[in-house]
Amino acid sequence: MIEIENVRKSFGQLEVLKGINLTVKKGEVVTVIGGSGSGKSTLLTCINGLEPIASGKVMIDGTDVHAKSTDLNKLRQKVGIVFQQWNAFPHLTVLENVMLAPRKVLGMSKQKAEEIAVKQLTHVGLGEKLSVYPNRMSGGQQQRMAIARALAMSPEYMLFDEVTSALDPMLVGEVLDTLRMLASEGMTMICVTHEMKFAREVSDRVAFFHQGVMAEIAAPEQLFDAPEHAETKKFLAATH
């Protein structure tokens, strides 16, 4: 379970998260929508401790993410994250990209890591690309590789930060299909996205962020068809 309690975060003078409360249960899929600069991506990086927070608390299965005593490297093995820019490691083949962390972080044998990597890459439809370098692949393929790379660590939670925003429109579908597949398999996910149709389809709940505040959170039918907050209405009207 991910418990976010009254989290505040500033970049210099700008407060980007103004007291966020959100609890995500095991197996739940929560999508976060909202305009640029609403704080939704920042929230994800605060969840796995890539960014410090000013106040509040993030608990993952009872572990306080931002406590000094927390081993973040250990914690991050449990919480995978995939970014808008997929960050393929260009000097490694697709297979090596996915094998790297299981080998070096989990200390797996080469054989075991390869087995897992092949399985995950096949799962996301890249079984044919194992020995290819990332720069030979499309953005969509690289993004799917990044997803496989995160999954190879067998995380219990996955965070997706606008994973289709930097993609050619033609390639968005294949990545969303991969996310749909994960959701249907019961992965606990928080997805920051601009893909409204996708959000409606896969989410258990959809959260709308506005200027660092979670203005509204509800089941997708509720949020998309009968939004309560004025800003949610405005945002949905603009994106439809």
Binding site: N73, I81, H91, A101, Y133, P134
Partner: protein, 221 residues
Amino acid sequence: MFHYTFHWNQALKALPQMLDGALVTLQIALLSMAIGLAVAIALTLFRLSGSRILGALATAWIEVARNTPALFQIYMAHFGLGNFGIHLSPFTSLLVGIAFNNAGYLAENFRGALKAIPDTQARAGRSLGMTSLQAFRLIVMPQMLRVAFLPVTNQMVWAILMTSLGVTVGMNTDLAGITQELNARSFRTFEFFAIAAVIYYVIAKAVTLAARAFASRMFRY
């Protein structure tokens, strides 16, 4: 116009001796590069560490190495340290001096190369549970070495040529040292140094070509 008779035979007879010297030259250059690379990576990490003391130490090293004559650096290793009772052999002081110089230049090359690698690379590594040192070693460093590969090769050539400064601290087993001794005995300066120059050229060129071959095998992406 000028009255000089070339005596190439005499010089060519000394060729095996000079080639032995060339091996010593190559040895010093390779060792100084290996040490220089290791220190340069350490200096780069010092700069990235966020520690003020380590950062200042790295900056000081790089500034001195790059902005003072290499000859002085070798002198310091030999005569300078000698003043404090640390007596290094000509071989060691030459090695120390050139390694010091290499480390400074290489660290600066690495700094430039790091700018070409987005921060998000290390971040992606951290997000997979790597420590910052693992992320550097496994993700950032290989890319940094690739970007810096050409300047590193240049420094290697420079290291080979710098070994000739060893004559000033009494180095007499490397190519320059042996050539200098042969010259002092025969006064056939032109012949001996012309042959030595050709040998330096061939070594430097061979190293450049070898580096290029290595790069095309290693950097397949």
